[in-house]
Amino acid sequence: MSAEIHYISEPHPVSGVTNSKLGVWLFLASEVMLFGGLFSAYILLRTGVTDWPRGHEVLNVPLATLNTVILITSSVTMVMSWASLELKKFSKFRLYMTITILLAIAFLVVKGFEYAHKFDHHHFPSTSNFYAIYFVITGLHGLHVIGGIIVNAYLLLPGSKMWKTNPEQFTGRVEAAGLYWHFVDLVWIFLFPALYLL
């Protein structure tokens, strides 16, 4: 018999999903609990003290709003790159994927400016727990953005060879990467009000 692993590119008849889609969702479930732990820490620390600063008084709301716009836009371009593959338009996929990656880099650049500005004013994680939680959560989120850039760049460049040999599986991979990328966006949607606006 062939020892091929089934349901890599075609969905399982009962569960209705491919291995990679189930795997990515399980991974995201785990990520929910990771950020859940951090949000839990944030709530416990904040409710435990009386002098917690208001985010919009100490952080740069316009820059963060810009970043929100950037990340939401990148989510749209990501889903469009997947839709382009569904429509068998590979060149459009490349275009949208490139924009997604560029937007992700732009997000990090803006974040870098924000961090640099804080360091200039001697605001570090050691300054107060507000800054500590700000740096740790946005830092970890930033690492996720970097991870997304790496995955997307792989799918754009060396990984895209698969489009010729197994388009179904490649589309599945882009969808999986997309799920991850939307999750990164989703975390930011909560981070933004929690850290900057409240």
């Binding site: 479930a29 709530i43 909560f190």
Partner: protein, 95 residues
């Protein structure tokens, strides 16, 4: 989602653009509201409410949860249940 007809995918693309504009609008709303002075608890409630709507839009349409298979929904319900415990219980510690 693979194997969708061209018409369906094109319909979805229009949907994605609508969701995009909704997300942008909600971002503007949440920033604007943060400048309105109100009691902290109300502020938190409003901001989280808007964030939840935005997150639901992303999850339902970009991540296709609105049409996703049962097994995925099941895993997520389980996760959200434990997530709620993780979030709520430690913060009850002070009382």
């Amino acid at each position: 989602m693979s194997g969708h007809s061209e018409v369906e995918v094109k319909k979805q693309v229009t949907l994605y653009l609508r969701v995009f504009f909704a997300l942008m609008a909600l971002t503007v709303v949440t920033v604007a509201i943060s400048y309105v002075h109100m009691p902290i608890l109300l502020g938190v409630a409003v901001a989280l409410f808007i964030a939840c709507i935005k997150a639901s839009l992303v999850a339902a349409f970009f991540m296709h949860l609105s049409t996703e298979k049962k097994i995925i929904i099941f895993i997520l319900i389980l996760t959200v249940f434990f997530f709620a415990f993780l979030l709520a219980t430690p913060s009850l510690h002070h009382t």
